[in-house]
């Protein structure tokens, strides 16, 4: 299913963006990704207020979760036009009629002005997608702010209770189940993440332990160290669980890791489908509609004033699974 994403300019200039979205799949486990890149015009600096209007070819109502209808507008701020961000924005538009999408264009310097304008407009809530958007939006104190697609949210300086987050990864238990489903012989798994992910590590350890899988975990501080650690552990594992911690990963490290993994027959699980080209066995991804749904719940509870019971980071419920062609043939 294709949807059109239009980006709006002040003064009624809207840029219509076409995006392809894969809706909820029939199985409910896999997600389709945009097949074509976003068609875009040249975009000047976002002064005074960039707005993205997303028109969606809506699915039949019976296939979609019941929408939450609000009367006040919701501002959706995306850090950049990455698919992972726009997919979530599109899913949110599906849920909210009066939602406006704003893009920061990846420009850290311009975020301050954009966020102040969003605050002045008087939105009922702000959804920040990506680290850049989240880092800017947490400065807003008058409106509820929910961020998502931020893996290293521990780096965010969250000062008030009006800010909550949604996990950037699918539930680890579900991920492991899905992985084991496609690779039942998996026995020893390695995992390398940067500092500040103790919760993640604990969750992973618990999930592995419950499934009788050994999990080797190491915290690294750079891509070099990640590579070094991977080289060391690659002889002792048969699967590697890659998390999207960009602080300790680089293209060169990923390339070498892929070579080492191939040499030592280590199967990779990667966090997005595009990384299957590394030779990964399976992609264990988040699901945009799942993220949007969780965001909706969080916003709803925050709107009700049920902030204290809300965890700082709400977990997702679904996992998207995509196996590599080699793995599919093997199965």
């Amino acid at each position: 299913m294709l949807e059109t994403i239009n980006r709006a300019r002040p003064g009624s200039i809207l840029l219509v963006l076409l995006a392809s979205l894969l809706g909820a799949c029939a199985s409910g486990l896999t997600t389709s990704w945009p097949e074509e890149p976003v068609e875009a015009e040249a975009v000047p600096a976002p002064e005074p207020l960039p707005e993205i209007s997303i028109e969606a070819n809506r699915k039949p109502a019976e296939l979609l979760p019941p929408p939450v209808r609000k009367t006040t507008p919701i501002a959706i701020v995306v850090s950049s036009r990455q698919t992972a961000y726009t997919d979530v924005a599109a899913a949110l538009i599906e849920r909210y009629d009066d939602a406006h999408v704003y893009e920061l264009g990846g420009d850290d310097a311009a975020t301050g002005g954009v966020i102040r304008n969003i605050g002045d407009i008087g939105n009922s809530a702000v959804v920040a997608i990506g680290l850049l958007a989240a880092r800017s939006a947490v400065s807003l104190t008058d409106v509820p702010v929910v961020y998502c697609q931020v893996f290293n949210d521990q780096e965010l300086d969250i000062a008030s209770d009006n800010v909550r987050g949604v996990a950037a990864y699918s539930p680890l238990e579900a991920q492991l189940d899905a992985w084991l489903a496609v690779d039942p012989e998996l026995r020893r798994i390695g995992m390398l993440v940067g500092e500040g992910h103790e919760d993640l590590i604990a969750e992973a350890r618990g999930a592995a332990e419950r499934r009788g899988v050994d999990l080797l975990v190491r915290t690294t501080h750079s891509d070099q160290e990640t590579l070094y650690a991977f080289r060391r552990m690659s002889r002792d594992i048969d699967g590697f669980w890659l998390f999207p911690d960009s602080r300790v990963l680089s293209a060169r490290a990923l390339r070498e890791m892929a070579q080492i993994a191939e040499k030592n027959r280590v199967r990779f699980a990667v966090p997005n489908e595009g990384m299957l080209s590394l030779g990964a066995a399976v992609a264990l991804t988040t699901v945009a509609t799942d993220i949007a749904a969780v965001i909706g719940e969080v916003l709803e509870r925050m709107a009700r004033g049920d902030v204290d019971s809300l965890p700082r980071l709400s977990q997702l419920r679904e996992v998207g699974v995509k196996t590599s062609s080699a793995m599919a043939e093997a199965r």
Binding site: T83, A84, G130, S222, R247, S250
Partner: protein, 734 residues
């Protein structure tokens, strides 16, 4: 020790012998050694080039390998650089030490912080103090190659590089936030942020590799030298074997050079030498053919194909030796054709040649194959009758005579019979010397001719014959000495008119002054002079001395005129006319004061060159007299053609003139014909007054003889007494 000394001496002796052989060969180099030297030098050069190429190629290969190793190590530098981002990880340091120990080429690893300050050095034995911090320039340069394709700096020599200094930056990268959520981070156009952590320096030393290379090359050179030595010995053996075919040619070629054409060439294995052998065989065949042709020319008469004189004498010598050894007898037959000159003069030389060939064939047929026939001279043949005693040789001579008598030769419609005279000499133990044998057979042949021709004579070694033979032989030397010592003399016999008795001219006669001062008549020595080829010289001597005599006596004898005899041999000399003219000029002789007398046979034959000489002399003013007319073969018809001034009637017609009416009629006829032909006649051999008177009656103009006047030392004008009552006188008075 003694064995070593002996070996050394043997080696020195061998070298000395080689040197002596080299000098004996005229300092010429041996082909085997030269080819071998070229091969070995070429091989050594190629080997040297190969070793040099190997060395330099090895250098380049090593350097290339060093660079690739350096790249590999650099790729592993990230791990080697673990201490830069795992400062508290002791295991990493230990692992690094272990890694470095595995590669002896890595002498030292230096770690610098991002400012170029030394952090630590591996191996640990090296102190940080021994390592200088990086200069700012190097820090900047190394920082620039961060994330480049070859992310390191390498310092080392271009040639013979053994040590390298590698400096590489160590950095960490992070992906932009969110990259890992969606798109392929390797494909996405994302710019990683990089953070320099420090530098790592590698000191590489490939001395061991170089030493190994040089050692291997030394071994290769040694192997090459050994191979060259082995190839030299083997090559020499192979070359000598290959060139043996050339050496085998030496002896046959030497034999050929010495004239021995009966040589055998060993067949050659190789194509090139085989071609040479074939060419030599062809050359030998050609030489043999030419030799045979030369032998044929040297040993055979070109006209008849019979043996020539030289070859016959060889055969005669061999036969003499055989006779001496075996004691049997053989015979030598000397054959001379009778009147051969007649056909030669009458029909020309080609006709004579044809007759000679016919005679040769006939003789060959008569004597059989076991005997030898040879042409000895113009019309002279000899036969060596092997194993023939006197009786057999007489039979053979008779057979030859009969055969020749039957043989008729036709030329120009005229039939000629070539009769011959044969002299036989018997070869026996007492008579072996070939010169004697030939002389004896010749002598016998002449006797046969004297006896009437067309017959044979067995040589009779009687005393008279022997004396004659000896005299004949001795004449040769005497004549030669007489010419050289000017011992000939002239006599002057007057020729007077028959009617008036007055002296008209003198015939110049020659005499040989003997050892005792006696004068020898020409009949005694002229035949020998003719036989031994001295006649022409004698004729020229007479011309010169007659001219001188004319100059001497022309003032004392009024109207002096001299008649000089010229033989046919004088005309064989092309310079006759020039000589006569020169003598006339030298002695101031008017040509019209000279008369040349030639024989009837020469006049009739008159070959073209003789005719031309006679004409030239006549134009000069000289008169000619035909001598001895009546004895030869000419008919009166010839007199019409012959342009002579005088006709001298042979003495045979005059000698018995008063008593022989036939002679009288003949002389009358000759006188009348001479008169009609415009010639004056001279009668020779006039001995008395009666003959003189009769000659006048018969119409002869002049007379010569004892009655007219003896030959004197000097010309004298002495008139002959004339009988007044002769018929002739009466006619004159009338």
């Amino acid at each position: 020790m003694n064995a070593v000394v002996r070996s050394g001496r043997r080696l020195m002796d061998r070298l000395a012998k080689r040197w002596q052989d080299f000098r004996d060969a005229g300092g010429k180099r041996g082909l085997v050694n030269e080819i071998l030297t070229i091969q070995l030098v070429s091989a050594a050069l190629a080997g040297s080039l190969a070793v040099a190429g190997l060395y330099w190629g090895g250098q380049w290969v090593l350097k290339d390998n060093y660079a690739r190793w350096a790249l590999q190590w650099t790729n592993e530098l990230n791990e080697l650089a673990a201490p830069l981002y795992l400062a508290e990880d002791d295991e990493a340091a230990i692992r690094l030490e272990s890694y470095v120990e595995r590669y002896p080429e890595i002498r030292r690893v230096r770690y610098y912080d991002r400012n170029g300050e030394v952090m630590f050095v591996v191996p640990a034995a090296e102190t940080e103090d021994a390592v200088d911090p990086l200069e700012e320039k190097r820090v900047a340069a190394a920082t620039e190659v961060m994330s480049a394709d070859t992310p390191f700096l390498m310092k080392g020599g271009v040639i013979n590089a053994r040590r390298f200094d590698i400096l590489a930056p160590v950095w960490v990268e992070t992906l932009p936030e969110g990259t890992l959520f969606g798109d392929d981070p390797l494909q996405a156009d994302v710019t990683a942020s990089r953070e320099l952590r420090g530098f790592i320096g590698l000191d590489l030393d490939f001395e061991v590799f170089h030493d190994g290379l040089l050692s291997n090359m030394r071994d290769a050179v040694l192997v090459l030298l050994v191979l060259l030595a082995v190839l030299g010995v083997y090559g020499r053996h192979v070359l000598r074997k290959a060139l043996r075919s050339v050496s085998d040619l030496e002896q046959p070629i030497r034999d050929i050079a010495l004239g021995d054409l009966d040589v055998n060439f060993k067949p050659a294995v190789h194509r090139e030498i085989s071609d040479v052998v074939e060419a030599l065989q062809t050359t030998v065949a050609a030489l043999s053919d030419r030799d045979a042709r030369l032998r044929q020319l040297a040993n055979h008469d070109s006209l008849t194909g019979l043996f020539n004189r030289r070859r016959f004498i060889e055969a005669l010598k061999h036969e003499s030796i055989k006779v001496m050894r075996e004691g049997h007898e053989s015979a030598l037959l000397f054959i001379d054709l009778d009147q051969f000159k007649y056909i030669n003069d009458a029909c020309g030389h080609p006709a004579g040649d044809r007759l000679i060939c016919k005679v040769a064939d006939e003789l060959r047929r008569c004597v059989g194959e076991s005997n030898v026939v040879a042409r000895f001279g113009g019309d002279e043949f000899v036969v060596l009758a092997r194993g023939s005693d006197e009786a057999v040789s007489e039979a053979m001579a008779e057979t030859i005579l009969n055969s020749m008598r039957r043989m008729a030769h036709v030329e120009d419609g005229r039939v000629f019979y070539a009769h011959c005279s044969i002299g036989v000499a018997i070869i026996s133990n007492e008579n072996l010397y070939h010169d004697d044998l030939i002389q004896q057979a010749d002598q016998a042949c002449r006797e046969a001719k004297l006896a009437g021709r067309n017959r044979y004579r067995i040589f009779d070694a009687s005393e008279v014959a022997e004396q004659r033979q000896n005299a004949d032989v001795s004449w040769v030397n005497s004549l030669r000495e007489a010419l050289d010592e000017d011992r000939f003399e002239l006599r002057f016999q007057p020729i007077n008119r028959v009617d008036t008795g007055e002296t008209v001219h003198h015939e110049v006669l020659i005499r040989l002054r003997g050892e005792h001062g006696d004068a020898v008549a020409p009949d005694a020595f002229l035949p020998s002079a003719v036989r031994f080829g001295l006649m022409s010289e004698i004729d020229f001597w007479v011309i010169r001395n007659a001219a001188a005599a004319y100059q001497q006596h022309q003032s004392t004898v009024q109207g002096l005129r001299l008649a000089i005899n010229l033989s046919a041999h004088a005309f064989e000399n092309d310079s006759l006319t020039d000589y006569v003219r020169a003598m006339f000029e030298e002695y101031k002789v008017p040509p019209n004061r000279i008369i040349f007398e030639i024989t009837e046979s020469l006049a009739i034959r008159r070959p073209l060159h003789v005719d031309q000489q006679i004409n030239t002399l006549r134009e000069l003013g000289v008169a000619f007299a035909l001598d001895d007319f009546g004895t030869g073969y000419s008919s009166f018809g010839y007199l019409q053609q012959l342009k002579f001034d005088y006709l001298k009637i042979d003495g045979t017609f005059v000698r018995d003139l008063p008593n022989n009416p036939v002679d009288q009629k003949m002389i009358r006829l000759i006188a009348e014909v001479g008169q009609e032909a415009g010639m004056q006649t001279v009668a020779e051999y006039v001995q008395d007054a009666e003959t003189m008177s009769l000659l006048a009656e018969l119409g002869v103009d002049m007379a010569q003889g004892h009655f007219v006047g003896e030959a004197t030392m000097e010309p004298e004008a002495r008139a002959t007494p004339i009988l007044l009552d002769t018929h002739r006188l009466r006619k004159l008075r009338k």
